[in-house]
């Protein structure tokens, strides 16, 4: 499955980069994250639970490895998720580019989904992944706005 798209953040690339590298922020933004920790400089481990509509949220273990880091411009994510409903594996390329006052993020992911969820929910995978990515990016944007607003306050 290929997932690609773009998102605009109302800040310069370095601020967006800092946000994307902060596990505490990611844990808040990614839908259904129960736990997310940085276990090594470029490795995150966590537990997520995502339920859509009639599907009860089931927990799965998630490992994200970052590579080819070019701050604040681009990086590659290796995604590995495993749970009772199936697994997902793949890579995502993320690029940040300044456009005036905003940062445009472009992402492209190649994901493999297998197991029960793929066998039964195949026709919904594309819509579900688009939905989760949109929710995550919108939450990141809100988090960014909150941080910027805090930063502007006099210390």
């Amino acid at each position: 499955m290929n997932v690609e798209g773009s998102h605009r953040f109302a800040a310069a690339p370095p601020a967006v980069w800092a946000l994307l590298m902060d596990p505490a922020v990611l844990a808040k933004a990614m839908p259904g994250t129960r736990r997310l920790e940085r276990v090594a400089p470029e490795r995150y481990e966590g537990v997520m639970a995502v339920g859509i509509g009639p599907i009860t949220a089931a927990e799965f273990d998630l490992v994200i490895t970052l590579s080819e880091l070019v701050p604040p411009r681009s990086y590659t994510m290796q995604i590995d998720g495993k749970g009772s409903f199936g697994f997902t594996r793949g890579t995502a390329q993320v690029e940040l580019a300044a456009e005036g006052d905003v940062t445009v993020m472009r992402y492209q992911a190649e994901l493999q989904v297998g197991g029960k969820i793929a066998a039964l929910g195949q026709r919904l995978l594309d819509s579900v992944s688009k939905l989760l990515i949109r929710q995550g990016l919108e939450a990141l944007s809100r988090e960014l706005e909150r941080k910027l607003a805090e930063g502007e306050r006099p210390a």
Binding site: M1, N2, I52, G53, P54, I55, T56, F85, K116, I117, L120, G121, Q122, R123, L124, L125, D126, S127, V128, K130, L131
Partner: protein, 292 residues
């Protein structure tokens, strides 16, 4: 393939059902069970309790209301298909139903269940948009009416608040000189459609399009109103050029279809274009022969 353990509750009245659901956020209402039970059997869904709505007489029956119809939420697909009132007032519903799954499923599946489930490829949510239906929702804080346009919010996501049930659907009367169209394409009959189109069109005295509501399904997170295609038709004579133009707009501008192993997004767009053209043609023929 058996469900995990759950508690089974069978209220006798709507009031009782609503208070049970309010008291038990881990419970799910059970109507025809044609989507929920398979999900439980595959252990994708695991509600702690089911509140069976089967005994709620308040949710049954089809009756004329004003110049339109009031259809109880527990009305089965099979009843929608064969009810003479529906055939007269909302033939689009009867026309759509044979495309839903298989006869065994249609004998148990219900209108309210399909709408509450809100599968993006389901026929009935789109039909509700095309007909301009109002949904009656009852919950702990009373009863409210929500337009179908405001009810479907996203992937399996509706305006139903926790503890709220769909109790009925009201359909407006059929406008004079109007006709309906329904087209879908599935690889095998009974499968979820790769794409589908449903619409209602009414003509004015001069034969131009007076009102039109077009809804697409299988091509988004839920049923999709083809608002730009409607705009292109309104006030215009629905000649072949206008119909082809509207169909192209519906396919290119009004939807963002998913790609999966069954069909690519581009293939689904092409389906929307062809099916919209066919549905418009059928609706026009019916409108021209309906008099009024």
């Amino acid at each position: 393939v058996k469900p995990p353990r759950f508690e089974y509750l069978r209220p006798e009245t709507l009031g009782e059902a609503v208070s049970l659901l309010a008291a038990r956020p881990d419970a799910k209402p059970l109507a025809g069970g044609q989507s929920l039970i398979p999900a439980m059997n595959f252990r994708l869904a695991a509600p702690a309790a089911l509140v069976d709505l089967a005994r709620l007489e308040e949710l049954r029956g089809v009756r004329a209301q004003g110049d339109g119809l009031r259809i109880g939420a527990l009305t089965t697909h099979r009843e929608l298909e064969h009810n003479p009132l529906i055939a007269g007032h909302a033939p689009l519903l009867a026309q759509a139903v044979p495309h839903i799954a298989h006869p065994q499923i249609r004998s148990r599946g219900t209108l309210g269940g399909s709408l509450a489930h809100a599968d993006p490829a389901a026929e009935l949510p789109a039909v509700m948009l095309a007909l301009g239906a109002l949904l009656e929702l009852t919950g702990p804080s009373g009863t409210r009416q929500v337009a179908a346009d405001d009810f479907f919010l996203g992937l399996f996501l509706t305006a139903l608040a926790p503890g709220e049930l769909i109790t009925a659907v009201t359909l407006p009367g059929r406008p004079p000189r109007s006709g309906d169209g329904f087209q879908e394409f599935a690889r095998r009959h009974g499968d979820y459609a790769l794409a589908g189109v449903t619409l209602r069109l009414a003509l004015d005295g001069a034969g131009a399009v007076h009102t039109v509501r077009i809804a697409l399904f299988g091509v988004g997170d839920g049923p999709v109103r083809a608002g730009q295609a409607e705009q292109a038709l309104r006030g215009r004579a629905p000649d072949p050029a206008a119909r082809a133009e509207a169909a192209a707009i519906a396919a290119e501008a009004d939807c963002d279809p998913p790609s999966d192993i069954h069909a690519s997004a581009a293939y689904r767009r092409q389906l929307v274009r062809v099916l919209t053209r066919r549905a418009l043609e059928a609706a026009l023929t019916r409108a021209e022969s309906s008099g009024g």
